[in-house]
Each structure stands twice: as structure tokens, then as C-alpha cells.
Subunit: 571 residues, 3 copies
């Protein structure tokens, strides 16, 4: 699928103009969704390849400069003319591979921008433009740049149900969506009854989960929730991607639950929509690092928990760190390599920032110097913007802020315990205090070791260090922590940064989200993601539970039924 | 391999005419086997595709009618001219996929029919025509239609040996073969020493298994047993598909056993050949359902016990139900969607009849109304003949006979227990009373629930129901039963239908088959499929064990040596 | 990659002549390495295929002769003209497949010979020629023939590290390399820090392992050890195939260890280089058998311990038998099917000699008759040089020397125990006395059964036999032994052949190698391949530990630190 093809663009433009002209005056049309879950489709057609060559010419100016940047003298692959450029298939150049992902992203950006201009030209003045990203944090879409062509961001979020319904993935995707334009977003698709192509996902929700889902999105800043789809389709690929109505098109269990939710929203919607969310913690998402690590994976056994089809370790690590914050009931935004100023955040999480130019590392160092707190993992600072390993002592420009250097690292064949349970997690199970997959041989210069490997060889180097630099701190994880350990490390850092609250005392199945609504009032959402009733102690200012209009005093006990929630609006 | 190609047909015809002319007067040639294990070979050559298009034109008349039948408006794939038809590769239309399998079957039928006409034209008048199907119940051969071009049906039956030798697969294939023309059949190939392409199957039979195998086939209606092959081949692909003779071409253990069997047959063969078998139970085999379910599998974990290379759940379920009958020593025939009248059977088994037109469902309902007993599983009645899900409440036209309707279903992530062991199988092991993979949310209207899920959510719907309709009953399994549970359900239904006998009291390793020979006498085969001697009580009329000519009184004790048998001919 | 292409050869020759002319007078250039890890690259280009056809014409003279040799009448594939020859893809002829591997090897031989002639023509007179084989015992390189074009053999040996560092693979590869020209060899590449393409091999050595590695090679006859590579590469495929220096290019842990070793060698190198090694045991390596078995694997579950990417059973078996000798501290050479005289060895190991002409089997028989001892496994003698199974009773021409014949064999679905623990290994663990994968049904004629299967069916035939023939013995393993059992069988045979010594009393982690240096003195290397200090009793004539110049008396206790060694030079 080559979305650059002039022939394709010619017919697509004709179709777009006709459709928009035909519907723009229909009063039920409030906005336009461009395309559907657009990606690069791994296109490498001749015109795409020539486009890449011209892009390289503009970027590197001479073949010699490109050869140097990509270390092509290795195995004698220097380019002497631009026509020497090999195609993407089978290249062994990590520089080429990374640059090709950027080119693929640029093509997606250009295609959606082209559509947005067309639609804007034809659409009604009050109609908004969006596109359904189809799962945020894709490796071939530069989502933050695409967002610039839209009026509002939208995502299709498909998630686990039944015993796997816990709100974490919805929150991750929502946090990312909200961060793209620093504001509210739409959910253009989410689970109706089932989402199976075949047998993978035919798990309809338990009673209550459909309704709880809507509020889960609203609590993270969504302004709309749509289903894929309303009625089930009677044939073809998505026969079992069932909508709210079954194939019989009659009312049913799901219809009843959606109907109940809709009637609630009719009443309390104005209190919920347009929620403003402020977070003190940010996670740095580096698409380049995700891509570059996928070409040189650090860990063969990293849990493939990620939705990105990425078993290579980057996205999985990001998800682990976001999940730890979610478990701690600490809200998070995402920031990007292009973000110039992190100072609005008190804590910056930096997972495996394998690819970065010197400037970004400098900005992170400055952030620490000026009082910021950073939690950073292994691989950060290792390679430059061309995927070349830096030829100075690792972690390169981060060395001063990190307070150590290293020359070696090792895969870990087996998980290792840490000496003496430094983060007090051993009560959480026999493997809670374990690390695995990767170990950098950190040689502290100013940093303080926080944890050591319990091993005759690896025990010579610390596993986790912390460095005070300027008025901030940089905590560094030289290895892949267990989930429990990651949560404990983040909890300790949050305490140090003064970011703890009563929210960390909630039972595990309860999650809370906060925001300010259009009336200027603070909202507190308490979700019970479990099949049993839970009582919690409400710890904020007195207010009203919007769902049943009951008054909630400070320190009152809130009873939350299974797969249900309370929404307290402060008085 | 395109067996439609005119060039191929031209040369094939020349060769066939020459071969038949050359050998037809050879007195050792008693019949002709057409081709070898013919299939569609997944051919999709241009001529095959154009043939498909013309077939669609005849069947649907207009592109619009086809678009409607296949719901092609979904994802904008309507056909406006026949030339719009995409090729088979990568279509997402379930209607297309199913129709293509029918076209593939028609091509096989046509090719074999063409050969049969040619050979009949050239062969001697007393010579019969057959073809070796190469494993019955294939998905790309319409075996019941092909049988119309033959004088007698033949199958190549390869099966487990050593500790996996139990007669069940031979009986399944034989039952199916016999049902194609309601009569005797040939075994054109079966295991000699080993059947391994490589290392998969080099397991020569234990002493006795080769001989027992011959009688196993005869007891199910075979009139001939041939080996692949006589002598082992010294090179190439089938070097280790060893015949009766080893590569040394000398007499050996297998030769001795075949020789013994042949001498026995010389004596008692006339008592065994042409066996007439009458069964009261039939299993409905729907090739369309097998194919359509394979495009939309209901279960990711269904045991791939099937010989058809089908991990998708249909054939596996058929085999489970046949195996349960085999374990209960109840003989079974197969019937087909084209079968117009089921009334000669007292019990009809209907596994996952996912694809059916209304008429077939009507015939099944009428059968129940008129006193028939039906055991039916989930998915039955769900989609029509074009693989479109019916747009009325499931199970569509079966609703009245089944006595329930349903709107929802779920994959089961884990096996579930049934509440209270309703079929008394829990003594058979900790998982005997489990169900898995799939659960339909049955809402009884007239049906009586027989079993419930032990689960807070799924427990709201019954797992198994039974409905009295007219003078018959329809038992419905809304979930995939454990093997033990399936056997218990069938045993209970057989009792209700008055189909039990002393045969259900035999020890597990002993299996019995009955029939009437050409002398009009009843035969009872008792097989010991184990390595230890077993004594059983003979419960039929007095007779003679043909193998040792000993008299067998009613209620006599029969001693059957390991991997051996008794054949009692009633006096 | 077609290294036969005339265009490729034209440019390659021009480049080779220029490079050699340019560097030949550089005094630091002491020799030339041809190409890099040359293989056949599975090339099947038209010119390669035509070359194969012409080779067949020369070898078989007529298509009819080839058809007979390859049994092509099977499935009607006889050749009538040479133009009928199908291409390699998808052939089902085992004769074709085997001959193609020979042709692939001949192409590699020819290509390297062509290079050697070119370089010799241009190089300086004192410069040697070698090539880095890149892992010995490849299936597509006839290493013993290629060696004829070289001045000295060289290998790239990559091995396990950290807890997998035990010297066994280095010794296997070294033994093979030394056997190619019966003399010293070079190690052109071995592990620096890490060898990972991606995440598979990033395991830097423990302290001491890098140094011990150098001596491990020298002790087996290496005259040089080089690293791949000196400095780590900053980009591309081998970014994490780290050299001695890290990407920072500064001194580090590995550099310090290499430096220490180099300074030691500066002092004691003249005592170590040019070691002469004499062994009494030889292993027959049959590349043809490895290839032919890969096309007809005997065992689906044979442990894939082999470096050759061969899960098919031959190389794995060779490695098991070499490893057993290594564990017993018995040195071994390799011999080849072309070896005319085995009489310099007292014990000949013959693993699965599936492919052989009659002459080789005759030479082995004669060797036994004249007093040699042979340990031989299943499959030996089964097929002839064209991969056709012999059409006489197995094991064909070996029958008299082996003292048995057989007609049948079976895969073993489960491991079997041997009756009565005939080799006293049961104390070594519950599965020590097990055999698996394969069982030949041996019918002894003169041979003495040494072990029987503990099984009602297989128990009729012996698992291991021994035959006295002339003045020697042939021990035959009709099944795949456990590692422990293989070691016990070899130990018993070594005792019988008078080949035991105090070396068999060493602790498991200690390995010893012997040789005579250029000063005519005997060297004894004692390696400690473990992380703990070990004391051993020195049992040879008094000498000096070259590493610390300490005197070592006969029966002295030698203390060997973790991952360290002693080198005793006899006085």
C-alpha cells in the first residue's frame, strides 16, 4: 500500500472532495475523521525509495557525509554516489534502518496533512478534523507531529475484558493521547461485545465493565466514547468483532448497559466533559529508541506485554514504568525528545533512551541540575541520533549528571537477586527482589550505589545508583527490575520528590483519577476494577457523588460495588 | 498443480488410454484405481480463477446479488461487474472463502469423473473402478459426490502403532468410507512396517498388530486390505515408508505375520467378506462447516487430535463424538447435509453445524418432532449457506426444536467446572467434569437445563439443555465438553433412546463390531487392543469362533490374547 | 552469492592482485588469509546448476546410469536426456540431494584454490597462506581437501562464556583443525568481549576466562590466537560483537587480561608454540553421513547441542562422543572417509556412518581383524555412496565384523532403561542408564549382547553388542545412549584397549592436555574450568610450572586457582 502514489492520491482526492461536499451540510455531521488507523504499511515501492534517497540528499548533502555518519566503511559499504544507495531490504546498517523509520513516519505525517488540508477546504466551518490513531505509541507514526494537523486527537483503544479488565491500558493510551496536544481527546473506537478476528478475543465484558469503561476514559480526559461498532456484522473478517447489538439486532445485555450509561451522561455529562488534568510526573517516549532497540534488542526474554508488537524491550519497559505509576495512583503525562522544557514536572522518567542527540541529554542534565528528579534506565545515552554508539565512555554526555561511567555490560542468563533487599520488597514474594535480562557494569564516580547484585562476578558493580547533581537527583537502573521492584523504586523516588498522597494507601483494585471540570470544581474518580465490593476512605474535601447525588464528607467511607465507581465533585 | 489445464488433460488422456489398453486383458488386473489421493492442490491458476468467476455468474446471476449474499458492502468491496472479482489470495470475505472451497471440491469431482469415463470406455467389462481417497473427511474433496463416479470406494488409512494402536481411527475412517455408498469398501493402502517421511513415524507394529489390523478393517465393512507397500524402497522420499519386506527383500517378522493372516483368510475369508452393517446412530458431517469454522475458529486451544490438519475445532469435535461412541461400542454411520431423510436412525449427532441452509435445519427439526433424538453442539444453525450469520435470534430456525435462544457467547479463557457433577463423571478424575473453549449464553424458552457453569458470571446460563419437541428430544451442548463428559452425555442419551446393550459393559481395551455375512449369519468381532490377555463374557447367541473353530456358548467366557481377537459367527 | 560467476571472478582477481601487490612488501604482513568463512551460500544460480549437470555427466556418463544409481524409476522420475535433470529445489531424490552437497563442496574448494594460486603468484616468498574456516565441521565445505591449498589451517572459534566456559568446544574444533594437515594451526578469530548479533551472546567473560582461552588453544596445537576484534565497532550489524576494547577505545578489564597474557607469552611462548600431539584414538567424520542423515533424520528429539545448526542427529552424536573422550581426558584426532589406514590408532570411533562405499566398510573391517578396536553406532553401513539403502541384510559389508544382522528398527517414543544397569551408571542419576530416539532390532550371529532394553517388545533385541573379529573388537550401539552411558561405554572400551591413565582420575572441572614442545620436552597443561580453586595430584615426571617457574615433583599437589591453569614442562 503506497499512499504516496500519484495515481492513488488523484483518485483519493476526488473521492474525499465528493464525500465532504455531499455530507458537509448534514446537521448530524459534527466533524471529520481522516482515514483509518493510518500507518506506513511498510511500503518500500520504488517511488518511496527514491523519496528516501532525496530526503537523505537533503539531510546529509554528500554521500561521504552519510557514509561517515552511518559508519559504512565497515564491511566496505561506503557510498560514492547517491545511486549506490541500497534498498531497505537486507541492509545491515543500523543507521540506515533508523533513518528509514523516520522517513516512514514522515510519509504518514505528509499523507494525513494532505488529507486535513483537503477536508478543511471542503468542510463546514464548525466541523472539526481528527484521525483515529488506532493504538497510540506506534513505531511508524510520529503521533505528536501528526497531531499538529488535527483539531483534536482521537484513539481507538482495545483492551482486555473479563478477568483482564483493570483500566491500566486505557489509562496508558489516554495519558499518551492527552499529551499530544495537552488537552482533551476522543475515543473513536473501543470494545463493544468482542474484538476477535478469530478466537483471540471473543470475551464479552462482565456486567458493569462496559459502563465503567466509559468513565475510565472520561476520567483521563476523553470527551467522547464511540464503539466499534453499533451492530454486529453478518459476514467477513469482522463477523466476531461484535458491536453493542448482536447479529439479531435486538436489545440485549450490552445495549441495556450502554443505555443506562447514556442516560447517566445525559444528566451528569456537563460535570465530566472537558476535564483538565495536571500531573507532576512525565515519561519520556522516544520512538527512535524503540525502533533502534528493535534492531539491536537488549533482551531476548523481556516480557512481551506490549501492545506494540514489540518484544524487543523498549515499549515493554515503558509500559512497566507507567503501570508502576498507575498502581501507585500517580498520574503521568508523556513528553517527547522534541520537548524543550521539562521544568513543569517534578519527576521525569526516562526509559532506555538509547537514541538521542547531545542536546537532549544536555537538557536532561540541566533539568536535574535545576532541581528536577530523574529515574532513568540502562541504555540511555548510549547511541547518537544516527544510531552510532558514542565513542566516549558511556553514558556519554550524561556522565556528570549520572555520576558514573561504564565500559561493559552483559546479558543476564538467569535472574539475579539483589543483596539484602534494599527496597524492602522481599515480603511480596520470592522473586520480588530480582533483576534480569541486562546488567551494565556501573563504575560510580559521584553516584551512590543503592543496590548490588548478589553474584560472585556481577556483584562487583552496583545495580542501581543515585546521584545528586546540582539541586536535583538522577536515579539510574543499570538492569531490568522486577515489576515489584520497579514500583518500590518509583515509590521511594516519589517520596523524595514530595509527590505522595493518600492515594498510595488505596487497595490494589481501586484506582483514582483527579481533574478539574468546566465548572472549576475538582473531580475525584474512584474505580473498583474487581468483582467484589470494596470500601475505601475518602480523603479529599467534602463533595457529592455525582452518580447517586449522595453527599460525601471528608474521611467518609465510600462503598464501591463490583465493576463500578464513584465520582466525587468537591463542593 | 492445475488438473484443469487443457494441456495437462491432453497428455493425461493419451497416457490413460495407452495404459488401460495395454493392461486391460491381463487376467491379474481386476480393477482400476483412478489417480492417487487426488486433491485440489490449492490451485488458483488463472484458468481456475476464471472458472470460479463463471461458476459464480451461473450461481448468483448478477454481481449485485453476490455482493448482497456476501455482505460485500462491508469495507466497500461491492462488485459492480464480474471483472471486479478479486482473486482468492487475501480476500477477507468469509462468503468468498467458503464458496471457493466448494469450487475446489467441484474441480476434484470433475477431474475424477473425467478419468472414470475414460477408463470405463477402455477397460474390460468386469473390471471395477475406484480411487484411493487418501484419508477420508478431507476439506477439499466432496467425497460423497465423487463416490458417484466409482464402482466402489477405497481409502488409504494410516494410523498409530505400538502403544497408539487402538482401532479407533481405522473405525472412524471405515465408518465414513462405508457411508459414502452405503456398502463395502476397499483399503488400498495401510501401514506396512513404518510410515515415516523422516523421523515422525518410524514405529513398526508390535507383534499381532499387523494381523489385528486386517480384521479391524473387515469388521467395519472392508472387502480388501492392501499395503503401502510390499517391498521397501531403496532411495528417495519414501525410503523409510517401509513395506512388508525390508530393504533386504528377505522374509522377516512382518512377512511372517502377513503370511499367517493370509492363510487364515484363505480359509475363513468367505465368512467375512461383504459384511452388512446396520447402525442406529448417525453423525452429520458438514464439510462446509469444517471449512467455514476454519476461517473463523471458535477455539484457540481445541486439541488438534484430528488427522485433517484442522486445529480449528470442527473435525476435532467430530472425532471426539465418534470416539465416545467407539468407546461405548456403539456403531455409527455418517450422514451428510444432502441427506434428505434421517428417519432410519434413532439418534442423530450434529456437531457444530455452523453452515446450513434453512431447509436442513428444518429437516433436523422435523426429525425431532417425529420422534428422533438429536445431540447437537454449539455453533449449529449460526450461519447460512453463504457463511453469513443469520440476522434473527440464534439458533435461527432451530429455535423451536432447541427450546432456547441466545444473543451472546464467549471464549473460555480457562476450563470451567460444572455445578454438582450432573453426569456423574467426577470419579473419573479431577478434570472429568470440565468444559472449555466456548460458552454460549443460552436463554431457555422451553428447554430444560441439564448442567450449569460453576462461575459467578457464566453461571447465569446453562451449559447443556434438553428440549422435548414433538415426540423426540434435542440435547444441546453450548460448550466444549471434556472427553469423559461427552461420553457420559452420549451414554445417557443412548439409554433414553433405547440403544444400550451388553456391549457397554466390555472392558475399555476391548471393542466389538457386529454385522451379517453373505451366508446371512451374524458375526461378532471382539478385539483386544492391548498388550495383555483379557477375558470377556460373550453375550450373544451361541456360535463358533471362526479363528480356531471353537464353539462359543451364550454367556461363555472368551479369552482374547494380547493384540488379538475372536470372531464369533452365530450358529 | 555465486562465487563461480565469471564477472565476479574478473573483478575479484583484479582486486586480489592489487591488494597483494600493494601490501606484500610491508614487513608487518606475515601471511595472507584468503576470503572469509567461505561457504557455498546455497548458490543454485543457472551457471551453478549447469556446472552440476556437467559434473554428473562426467561422473555417471549416461542418464540411465544416474537414474539407476538414484532409483529414479520411483515415482517415474527417470532421466532420458541430461536436459531432463530437474533443479535442486523440491527434488525428492536423496541421491540428488547428497550429490548436490558434494558439488557445493567442490565449488568452495575450487574457489579457495583459485585464490590461493593468485595470492601465491603475487605474495612475498616468506608469506604463508591460510583461510579462516569459520567453524570447522561445516556441511558445505570439504575442509580436508581445502586444506591442501593452504600452508596452514586456521579456524574462527566462538564459544560459550561465563558459566558455559568449559573448553570442550574449543578442544573439539582444535582437534579437528589439527587433524586436517596433521599439524599446528591458527585461531584467526575468537571471543573478545561479546559475540552477539543481537541479544543472543552478550556475555563477556568472567575474570580469567580470556587468558585461559589462549592456553586452551595452545594446548591443542594452536600457534596463534587472534580476536574478532581489537576495538568495538560503533554501528551496524556487529555493534555488539565487541572487541577487546569497548566503544570508548580506552583500556579496560579485558585489555588488562589480554595484556597480562601477552606478557606471559613473551616469556614462555617458545616453550609452548609448535606443540606436537600424539593420540591413540580417532573419530571418523563423515560429511556425507551428516548431509544424508539431514535429509532423512533418524531422531526428532536428538539434542541440538551442535554448532552446525544440525538438529538431525549426526553432528550431535559426534559431539557427544568427542565430549565423552574430553571428559575422560583422552585426546582424539579426526580421520576421514578418505583415510586409507587407521592402523596408527588403537581405537576408532565410528558415529552413524550412514553413507559409505563398500571399500571404506572393508577398511574398517580389516582394521578390526588386524587388532583394532572400534566403537560404532547405529545407521553405520546402511546406505551406499549414492544414499541408496543397501539391498542386502544390514549392516551390509560390516555384517561379519559386527557379528549381527538386522531387518528392522524403530524410533523410540520414550526413553527406555537398560536391563540391570550393565555399565554401572545408575548411581549417576535416575536417567543415566537410558537410551532413546532409535533402536535397531539387532539379531546377533557371533556378537555378544552387552545390554538389553527393559521393555516387553524391544527387549527381544540387544541394545549394545560386542564382537571379537580377528584380533580386534567391534562394539556396536544400536541405540542413542545417554551422555553418561556413552562415557561409561567408552571408558570400558579404553580399558580393554589399554588406553587408560591417571588422567581419568582428575576431578570433573579439570582437563589435561599433553604434547611435546620444540625443545623435545613433554608439556602437561592442567586447566581449571570452574570458579573455585582445585587441588590435583600431579602424576607425571618431575618438571617446572612454566607460569610461575615453580618446581613440580612427581605426585606433588598442584593448586589451580579459579579459571586458571598450570603448565608443567618435564625436566
Amino acid at each position: 500500500m503506497d499512499t504516496d502514489s500519484p495515481a492513488y492520491r488523484f483518485y483519493a482526492e476526488r473521492l474525499i472532495r465528493h464525500i465532504v461536499a455531499h455530507y458537509k451540510d448534514n446537521p448530524t455531521v459534527i466533524g471529520w475523521q481522516l482515514d483509518n488507523e493510518t500507518g506506513s504499511y511498510d511500503a518500500a515501492n520504488p517511488d518511496v525509495f527514491i523519496g528516501f534517497q532525496h530526503y537523505l540528499e537533503r539531510k546529509f548533502v554528500t554521500p561521504e557525509a552519510l557514509s561517515r555518519a552511518w559508519f559504512l566503511n565497515y564491511w566496505g559499504e561506503n557510498l560514492h554516489t547517491w545511486e549506490d544507495l541500497p534498498t531497505r531490504d537486507g541492509t545491515i546498517s543500523t543507521g540506515y534502518k533508523l533513518e528509514w523509520t523516520r522517513w516512514s513516519q514522515m510519509r504518514v505525517t505528509d499523507f494525513l496533512h494532505w488529507q486535513s488540508v483537503l477536508v478543511r477546504e471542503c468542510a463546514g466551518p464548525s466541523q472539526f478534523i481528527t484521525t483515529d490513531y488506532g493504538g497510540m505509541m506506534k513505531r511508524d507514526v510520529n503521533e505528536e507531529v501528526v497531531a499538529g494537523s488535527l483539531d483534536i486527537v482521537a484513539d481507538n483503544i482495545y483492551h482486555g475484558t473479563q478477568d483482564h479488565y483493570d483500566g491500566s491500558f486505557q489509562t496508558l493510551q489516554s495519558d499518551f493521547s492527552r499529551s499530544l496536544r495537552h488537552g482533551n481527546f476522543l475515543v473513536t473506537e473501543t470494545n463493544g461485545q468482542t474484538i476477535g478476528w478469530t478466537s483471540g478475543g471473543q470475551y464479552p465484558p462482565y456486567d458493569g465493565q462496559l459502563r465503567e469503561d466509559v468513565y475510565t476514559y472520561l476520567a483521563s480526559g476523553a470527551n467522547m466514547v464511540e464503539y466499534w461498532h453499533w451492530a454486529s456484522i453478518h459476514g467477513n473478517q469482522e463477523t466476531y468483532w461484535k458491536g453493542i447489538l448482536s447479529h439479531d439486532l435486538e436489545p440485549n445485555r450490552e445495549y441495556a448497559e450502554v443505555s443506562r450509561t447514556a442516560h447517566e451522561l445525559q444528566k451528569i455529562g456537563p460535570h465530566l466533559v472537558g476535564l483538565k488534568i495536571h500531573n507532576d510526573v512525565a515519561i519520556l517516549w522516544s520512538r527512535d529508541s524503540a525502533n533502534a532497540i528493535s534492531f539491536m534488542p537488549y533482551g531476548g526474554g523481556v516480557p512481551a506485554r506490549s501492545w506494540t508488537g514489540d518484544p524487543d524491550g523498549y515499549a515493554s519497559l515503558v509500559q512497566q514504568m507507567h503501570h508502576a505509576l498507575y498502581d501507585l495512583n500517580v498520574g503521568a503525562d508523556f513528553v517527547f525528545p522534541e520537548t524543550l522544557d521539562f521544568s513543569q514536572y517534578k519527576l521525569l522518567i526516562v526509559p532506555a533512551l538509547y537514541i538521542s542527540d547531545d542536546a537532549l541529554l544536555q537538557r536532561i542534565s540541566e533539568y536535574v541540575k535545576n532541581g528536577g528528579h530523574v529515574v532513568m534506565t540502562f541504555k540511555s545515552g548510549f547511541a547518537n541520533q544516527d544510531s552510532a554508539v558514542r565513542w566516549v565512555r558511556a553514558p556519554g554526555p550524561l556522565r556528570e549528571a549520572a555520576g558514573f561511567s561504564y565500559q561493559e555490560f552483559s546479558s543476564l542468563e538467569h535472574p539475579l537477586a539483589l543483596k539484602g533487599d534494599p527496597f524492602n520488597v522481599s515480603s511480596a514474594g520470592p522473586n520480588a527482589s530480582q533483576v534480569q535480562f541486562w546488567a551494565e557494569f556501573l563504575m560510580p564516580e559521584h553516584a551512590k550505589p543503592l543496590a548490588w547484585y548478589d553474584h560472585p562476578f556481577f556483584g562487583k558493580w552496583p545495580a542501581i545508583t543515585e546521584n545528586s547533581f546540582g539541586s536535583g537527583t538522577l536515579l539510574y537502573e543499570g538492569t531490568y527490575l522486577s515489576d515489584k521492584l520497579q514500583t518500590a523504586v518509583l515509590r521511594a523516588t516519589l517520596e523524595k520528590a514530595g509527590l505522595t498522597s493518600p492515594d498510595q494507601q488505596l487497595p490494589p483494585a481501586v484506582h483514582v483519577q483527579h481533574g478539574v471540570n468546566r465548572l472549576g470544581k475538582r473531580l475525584h474518580y474512584y474505580f473498583n476494577y474487581s468483582g467484589v465490593e470494596i470500601k475505601i476512605s475518602y480523603r479529599y474535601a467534602a463533595g457529592t457523588n455525582l452518580l447517586d447525588t449522595s453527599a460525601v464528607a471528608k474521611a467518609a467511607t465510600l462503598t464501591i460495588p463490583p465493576w463500578d465507581l464513584a465520582i466525587v465533585e468537591e463542593n
